[in-house]
């Protein structure tokens, strides 16, 4: 077992564990904290997959911004009278469990039995040209006006964000 595999397993266990904590903990603030852990561990997985830029973005946006947003929302919407159990489940939780189990089994079964178009084993060499690291490459892919790039979707994404900002303000405004 090489180091990468070892690290993967450690991170994966923590990741799944923190995910279970998010859905399982009774106090919703605890769940939110577990969510931070989850986001951080996901960032670790990304690093393992040579996606350094996304790992950084993950930390910044998810572990930073989104979690803070969620915590603020929690703060603003206190569930009265249920201090100890602020993260209850509804009556359909067992249906959800059945569905999720079925779906998970199906996906895992499909993933392990069906043939993949991409290789199943990774090789460290040759994904990127020499001298160009992941961040540079992402930058090229997002911004370059001359070579193959996603510049138009990127601009549209910025528009989506703008709409979201204005929408959030309008919806959340006190009137």
């Amino acid at each position: 077992m090489d180091l990468a595999t070892l690290i993967f397993w450690i991170i994966a266990v923590i990741l799944v564990g923190s995910a279970l904590m998010v859905v399982g903990l009774r106090n919703i603030v605890h769940s939110a904290v577990a969510l931070i852990l989850l986001f951080a561990m996901a960032a670790g997985i990304y690093v393992l997959l040579d996606a350094e830029f996304i790992a950084i973005v993950q930390i910044l946006i998810y572990a930073g911004a989104v979690t803070i947003l969620i915590l603020f929302a929690l703060m603003l919407t206190r569930i009265t009278g249920q201090q100890s159990r602020t993260n209850p489940t509804n009556k359909q939780w067992w249906i959800a469990l059945v569905i999720c189990t079925l779906l998970g089994v199906s996906i895992i079964y499909a993933a392990t039995t069906s043939p993949h178009a991409v290789a199943t084993v990774g090789s460290d060499s040759g994904q990127l040209p020499a001298g160009i690291n992941n961040v540079v490459r992402i930058g090229q892919l997002l911004y370059s006006p001359t070579q193959y790039s996603f510049v138009l979707p990127f601009e549209i994404a910025s528009l989506v964000l703008l709409v979201a900002i204005i929408g959030a303000i309008v919806i959340g405004r006190e009137d």
């Binding site: 990741l15 997985i45 996606a51 895992i108 290789a119």
Partner: protein, 107 residues
């Protein structure tokens, strides 16, 4: 044995199902939102996993999976912002964040 694509796909699947369970079974709207965030991250894991295990030139150099992940993160951020704004707005009107009580879409 080293890491294979299946490791990441199965990890993504498990995360997705946990997130889905959270999204369906939770009463608190913010917990539902957290479940959705988990699902999005699960998708990101599989996306980046696919990107990593792609060795076909020149497509492998386009890092399409990673770019997708970036867009998913963008959309997720926007979604989180709007969703939380809505939750707060509803809470202000109805004094509750219980998704089961919010049934204004019914018949």
């Amino acid at each position: 044995m080293g890491l294979t694509l299946n490791h990441f796909l199965i990890l993504g699947a498990i995360l997705f199902c946990i997130g889905l369970y959270g999204a369906i079974s939770k009463r608190n709207a913010i917990a539902v939102l957290m479940g959705i965030e988990i699902m999005l991250n699960a998708v990101n894991v599989t996306m980046i996993g696919f990107s990593f295990f792609n060795h076909v030139k020149p497509y492998s150099t386009y890092l399409t999976g990673q770019i997708f992940a970036i867009f998913i993160i963008t959309v997720a951020a926007a979604e989180a912002a709007v969703a939380l704004a809505m939750i707060i707005a509803i809470y202000r009107k109805r004094e509750t964040v219980d998704v089961g009580e919010i049934d204004i879409m019914k018949w």
